[in-house]
Every structure is written in C-alpha cells, then in structure tokens.
Amino acid sequence: MRRSFPIAVAVGVGSIVLMTWFLPLPVLEGLRWMFLDWSVLLTGVALVMAFFYFLHTQWRLIRRRQNGWGYRILVVLTATGTFAWMMFDPTPRTASWMMTYVLIPGGVSLLGLLAVVLTYRGLWMVFQRGGGWGWLFFLTVAVVLAVDTFQATQGPLPWTSVVSGWLEGVVVRAGVRGLLLGMALGFVATGLRVLSGADRPFEE
C-alpha cells in the first residue's frame, strides 16, 4: 500500500491531464486545471525548499572542512543576508540595485569566460580529434559563416551571403527540426514510462 499509493496517484493524475489535453471532456477539464494549479503552487514551494537545501549543502561542506570552506561561509552569509534584506526592504530600488550591480555583472562575466573556454576548448578539440575531412568541412562552413558575419559591415565577398543563407535556411533549419522531432519522441516515451508506472522516480 505504501508503495502503490504514490504510483497510483502519479498514474491517475498524469492520465487525467493527458486525456483532457487531447479530448477536452468537461467533466475532466476542471480536474485538469485544478491539478495544474496545484503543481504551480508546489513549484513555488520547491523553490523555497531548494534555497534551504542549498544552505544545508554549504553547511555540510563547511563542517567537513572541505577545500574552499572559507568561501562557502561567505556564500552562506551573502545568501542569508540578501534574503533578509529583500524581506525587510522589498522596494524595487533595492532589487534593481542588486540586479544592476551584482547579478548582471556576475553573469555576464561568467558568460565572457565561457567565450574564452569555448574558444580554447574548440581549438584543443580540433587539435586532438580533428584532421579528418569531416572536420575540414565543418571548419570551412564555420569560416564562411564568420566571414559573412564580418563582411556584413564591410567586405567584397557577396557569395558568402548566398552560401550562409542556404546553410541557415536549409541545412540548419532541417537539422534542428530533425533533432527536435527525435527529442519530442524521447520526451513522449519518458512520459509514457512514468504514466505506466515503469519509471518511479518518487520511489524510496
């Protein structure tokens, strides 16, 4: 009973939501939206819980004196301090200050670092795995696209626009659609496994 109840709930709720999606029966329509409403509420609760799990994680690592535990103390103090500050002063100005001077600069810096990482990792990948004709084709396409982007402002190679247009419009678009179709099938299969009870991530 203890094991069957969560499975029954998961299968029942999932089946109702799926059924009403395809066949909007009035009887089940209300149930579906009620479940969705509850799930939105649970998501908010999960977000708050995640914050406390995060603090708990940092605390465990501090207690274990793992390398870098001093920085983790700073993380805990910053997180709890920001939380308290926003609770007591939730004005837009405070939030805007945090966004403008902390979140955005920090995120953009990390994104900038990603550019460096991607560049040298890409070079390393080419050096390690490249050299074949496939890689040569890949890099040639990349060069054509880069040249087209660069010479969009100034450049004497109009043919790159034609090539890049064809690549983006036909090859990339078709490839993306193919990937999305395949992934959609995979998501449907994953959902059906949960609906049928074969996959039970909630099982203890």
Partner: protein, 248 residues
Amino acid sequence: MFLAGLVGFAFVMLFGGLIVLARFAFHTEDLFERLRDIPLFSGLYEGLALTMEAGWPIHYALGWGSLWGEAGGSALVSLRAFQAIGQFAMRGDQPPDASSGDGLVYMLGSNVLNRLAREQYTAERWLDRMYVTGFQPWGYAAGTLAFPLARDTELALLLGHFGAEGGWMAEMAPRVFGATDDLVGQAVLYATCDEALVGEEVLAAGAYTRAGPAHGASLWAQDVMRWLLILTLFLGAPLYVVLVGGGG
C-alpha cells in the same frame, strides 16, 4: 481542433501500445543487445572502472532543470541513469558526489542514493552525497565547478539539462562526459567534453545504462515511431503541396 486532438490521442496510444508490446514480446537482453554502440557510454564505464581502481572521486551532475518544464524529460532520465551508474560506482572506495540545481531533483536524487546505500549496506559512506550547488544555469555551474575542484575529482558526468554553461562545467575534471537535451548545450558540450551525446541520445541513457527493461522497450518503440513519422513526412509533404498548394 477535436480531430487534431483525436490524432494526437491515437498517436500516444499507439506509442504506449508499442512500448507494452516490446516489453513483453522481446527478451530484455535482446532489447539491450540491439542498441548501437555510443562512445560516451562505453567510454563512461571504462572511465568509471579506471577511476575507481585508482581511488579517485567521481562527480555526477544532474543539471539545473526541474521536472516541471522542458527539462523534465532529461531530469527523469538522468535520475534513472544515476541509479544504474551509482550501483556500478559503489564498487569503488570513493563514493561519487551528485549535484543538482533544483530542489525536487535533489530530493529524488537523495532517494536514489539512500536506496542504493540500503541495498549495498554502505549507508555511512553514501549519506550526504547529494548537493544543491546553485540555482539557474550560471549559479549552478559556478557552484558545481567549485565543488569537484576542491575534491580533486577525476571524472565528471554531466547528464541532465545544461545550456551553454555546460562548456564551462567541462573544466571540472580531467575527464568529462556530457549529455543534455538543450540544443545549444549539446553543441557546447560536444566541443568541450571528452564525449557528448547529440539529439535524443540523452533520453536513451536509461537504456544504455540498463536502468530497466522498460527503457529498452521504449527505445524500440521510439525507433518504430520515428520511421512512421518519416513515412508520414515523405508521404504528407507532396500531398500537402498537391492538395493545399504549399510554397516558400
């Protein structure tokens, strides 16, 4: 609208029926043996074995996606594969660490770890090995990156929902395997990780890690449905042009 819904319902029922058929008509081992070789999984087990032999720790990153959104599928598959890989990794003397950027995935991952620990009588070693290292893409990436670097992680597996920040997370260990359902993330991980999965291969992780017979069955059904879709596209496109008059 109703017709479209009916077609969709029939599609889902057909898919489900194929899964059930494959599950009971084929032997489990046959379902797994028909899988083509994916370098990530063969390299993963090799890497895990060597890393465990050498006594180095392993890190399993479940991604920052939640079960509610577009990352739900990859999060579910990641949890399932985590169980299978965790069972394998238990042979080592260094229990692997697991990280997530979502509270619900954290709870489910903790369940998986506790279950493995109970089954293998290694509770003390495996407790408190699941962590929430940050939220959203960059917070999670930053927190997770700092974690294994502090513990000299030798091998890292990124299996879940990762975006472009996955390329940055590829710095966390000498050997990194990446798999995500995000298109940009796939491109980035392909360029930065030792091995990466493309397309829906991440959703096949359950089958390749032998997480359960249902995974092999659903993969078989997926292949059948894919061919049906291809057939529909090839037949439907000219029909659409003829009947409706497509263009552009």
